[in-house]
């Protein structure tokens, strides 16, 4: 999969959670455009087009980031902070994956925080609801959107 075509960036360290999420999305034909980053550092490298992602362009950011909070190296909150501080990445929608209500409360305490929340395990229905909240209807319709409709980008 060419990294430039990625529409969903999943930042998740747990292979089980990742597999369940991917499985759910795959069943809905969304797996093709997902990139799975295994920790926070890789996630940041991807988003900031550096390291092994140096060839990526800021011009084609992922449509949405699914971000786990408990991550090795750089944790989810730090990823969120850096993402939201940089003007180049600020507008990328972030859906935080929480393992409890309590975690969602913690994230809500941060300014410029997540755009939405999804509680694990990530069911497709929940994901669709989150995406709906973000106004990214086309993401789950299997149709490539015309560039002009992507106004939030």
């Amino acid at each position: 999969m060419p990294e430039s075509d990625v529409e969903i960036l999943l930042v998740e360290d747990s292979p089980e959670d990742a597999e369940l999420t991917l499985h759910s999305l795959r069943r809905n034909n969304l797996a093709n455009s997902i990139y799975w980053a295994k920790d926070g550092e890789e996630g940041l490298d991807f988003l900031f087009c550096r390291g092994k992602f140096a060839s990526r362009s800021f011009q084609r950011p992922p449509k949405v980031v699914l971000l786990d909070l408990k991550l090795p190296k750089v944790d989810g909150l730090e990823v969120l902070r850096q993402l939201k501080e940089d003007p180049r990445t600020r507008s990328i929608p972030v859906v935080v994956l929480t393992s409890s209500r309590e975690e969602a409360d913690v994230v809500r305490g941060y300014r410029n925080g997540a755009n939405s929340y999804v509680q694990k395990p990530v069911e497709f229905e929940q994901f669709r609801e989150a995406v709906r909240q973000l106004g990214l209807y086309w993401l789950v319709t299997n149709e490539a959107p015309p560039e002009t409709t992507f106004t939030r980008g």
Partner: protein, 591 residues
């Protein structure tokens, strides 16, 4: 001496001085008067003397003339002249003496021509040289008008003398009066002076006694004081110490006074005492503490208050033996320190426990999630290979993981609750309870449940936590009334032993009071899971919340006859909820 007396003293002295001065003045005046009177008496005596002399010289002149006439001796002539001259002189002096007396002057003026005339008569024979003539002349003078004139003169003199003697008597009386007045004044003055001196003496005596008494009082206090009192000199020696010193330190008073007081002070406290004593002799000190050596070699902690008397170079000081208090304070501080350390330890442990619980709950949740997720995929995508029995088993796996998920959720909830701060506000419990009941609609699906909500009070509580209390209790009530038709669940307030309590009562399966002590233990259940599902965390949660509101919770129940949960809250108000619509819940409850 009291204030009134103090004010009276200058007045008394002023008054006394004025009195003495007045009496002195009067006495002086009286004495002067008396001298004047005496002079007047003497004057009168002199006047009378002169009058007598006039009379005598008159007679002398007559005798001399008669002698001359009879004897013709010329010596009589000169005697006559002498008498006549004396007479003239005396009259002059008399005139001068009685210058102040108009009456006497008048009389004198009448007398003078008479005397003059008499003298002329007497002189006649002296002028003629013949004895016969002398005889005849003399005879004539004597026999004719002479005797008459003499008589007139004498009479006039008598009258003058009488008048003068009257004057004398008057002046005498006056002199006596003024003399008596002087005496009286002197006596009065003496009496007044004696009185004043006596008064002053008595006052002084009283003052002295008063002072002695006051000093005695001070001494009494000095001697009985439980504090160590002393007067210290700026020379570094005690000037006076009370008996308490001997009692507390054991040194005899004489020894305490004979050595510099620094000798008795703990070497470690010498420096700060030096600083403090300088302060004491300048401005005084308060609550200064140092240690004094005892005769046994130990030390006592003394707490000092001192006031300086800079004029006399003294410091008045009172010390209290605070050794025990300090020991107690130190013990208390040590115990407090230990307690604080232990409390910190406990807090740390609690925090660790909470962190542990929270982390365990989170970490447990992940594998559960995975088991559940993969089981589901198995059922959904591989059901053909599993077969009916395989599907049933996977379903069991999923149910078990779900139950464990609930346990973990409840544990997390409880852990969150333990950490949460209560933020109480005055809350109407009526609407809160009805809200909870509305939320139980799902659980009541297909059953007849009669909710009866009595008048609910206002409570000062954390509404979120209180909602949880009612939610757990009412959910329990709904659960354990499952075999009842209709189920009756009451919520209300009651008085128990004068305490306002809130109760939740049901007609459910109840429980045996034998196990009542297990009711509020974590994961403790009084019913079999196959009869009534549950995690055993709900009531613990309720109890934690009630305890956080300084309340108490307990239950009364009987097997198959329902259960009643009672709880108290600290901020439970007398006022009743406005809309105490009894049985309102009943209308919506049959779902």
């Amino acid at each position: 001496m009291n204030r009134g007396l103090k004010n009276a003293v200058p007045w008394g002295i002023g008054l006394s001085l004025a009195l003495v001065a007045a009496i002195g003045g009067l006495s002086l005046r009286s004495l002067v008067d008396q001298g004047e009177d005496a002079r007047w008496v003497a004057h009168t005596h002199a006047v009378i003397g002169e009058m007598e002399r006039v009379r005598m010289e008159m007679l002398k002149a007559e005798n001399a003339q008669r002698g001359y006439v009879l004897a013709g001796n010329s010596s009589f002539r000169s005697r006559f002249s002498t008498a006549r001259d004396e007479l003239q002189k005396t009259l002059g002096s008399l005139r001068a003496l009685t210058g102040d007396n108009a009456e006497q002057q008048k009389k004198l003026a009448e007398l003078q021509p008479l005397i003059q005339k008499r003298l002329e008569l007497l002189e006649e024979p002296l002028a003629s040289p013949g004895s016969a003539q002398r005889e005849a002349g003399g005879q004539a003078a004597r026999t004719l008008s002479g005797a008459e004139l003499t008589g007139q003169i004498m009479e006039s003199l008598n009258a003058m003398e009488n008048s003068e003697e009257n004057l004398l008597r008057e002046r005498d009386a006056e002199a006596r009066t003024s003399s008596r007045r002087t005496e009286i004044l002197l006596v009065l003055g003496m009496v007044a002076t004696i009185g004043m001196v006596l008064g002053a003496f008595l006052l002084l005596l009283r003052e002295v006694k008063e002072r002695a008494r006051a000093e005695e009082e001070v001494n009494q206090f000095f001697n009985i004081s439980a504090d160590l009192l002393c007067v210290a000199g700026t020379d570094g020696y005690f000037k006076r110490v009370n008996p308490m010193w001997e009692k507390v330190l054991g040194f005899p008073t004489a020894e305490l006074l004979s050595k510099p007081y620094f000798d008795f002070i703990h070497p470690e406290d010498v420096e700060k005492t030096r600083v403090a004593s300088e302060a004491a002799s300048a401005t005084g000190v308060e609550s200064f503490e140092n240690r004094y050596r005892t005769r046994q070699g130990g030390y006592r902690w003394l707490n000092w208050n001192a006031r300086p008397d800079a004029q006399r170079g003294l410091v008045y000081a009172a010390a209290r033996d605070v050794t025990e208090a300090i020991a107690a304070r130190e013990t208390l501080e040590r115990l407090n320190g230990e307690l604080e350390a232990r409390a910190r330890q406990l807090e740390d442990t609690n925090r660790e426990l909470e962190a542990f619980t929270s982390s365990v709950a989170h970490d447990l949740r992940a594998p559960l999630r995975h088991v559940d997720g993969f089981s589901r995929i198995l059922v959904e995508e591989h059901s053909a290979q599993l077969g009916a029995e395989g599907q049933r088993l996977v379903e069991r796996i999923r149910r078990a993981t779900q139950h464990m998920g609930e346990l973990v959720d409840d544990l997390l909830n409880l852990s969150r609750l333990t950490r949460r701060e209560v933020s109480p506000i005055v809350t109407d419990l009526g609407p809160l309870v009805r809200e909870v009941i509305a939320g139980l609609e799902g659980a009541c699906q297909g059953r007849r449940v009669d909710f009866r909500v009595g008048a609910m009070p206002f409570a000062e509580c954390d509404p979120g936590l209180m909602r949880q209390v009612f939610a757990n209790l009412l959910a329990n009530a709904v659960k354990f009334t499952r075999p009842r038709d209709p189920a009756v669940i009451e919520v209300g307030q009651a008085d128990q032993n004068g305490n306002r309590v809130i109760f939740v009562r049901d007609n459910g399966v109840g429980f045996s009071m034998k196990y009542a002590d297990k009711l509020f233990g974590v994961f403790q259940r009084l019913h079999r899971a196959e009869d009534f599902e549950g995690t055993g965390v709900g009531l613990v949660t309720v109890q934690r919340i009630v305890q956080k509101h300084n309340g108490r919770i307990w239950a009364e129940a009987e097997v198959d006859r329902g259960a009643t949960f009672y709880f108290t809250l600290e901020g439970l108000e007398e006022r009743r909820s406005q809309d105490s619509d009894e049985r309102r819940g009943g209308t919506h409850a049959r779902v």
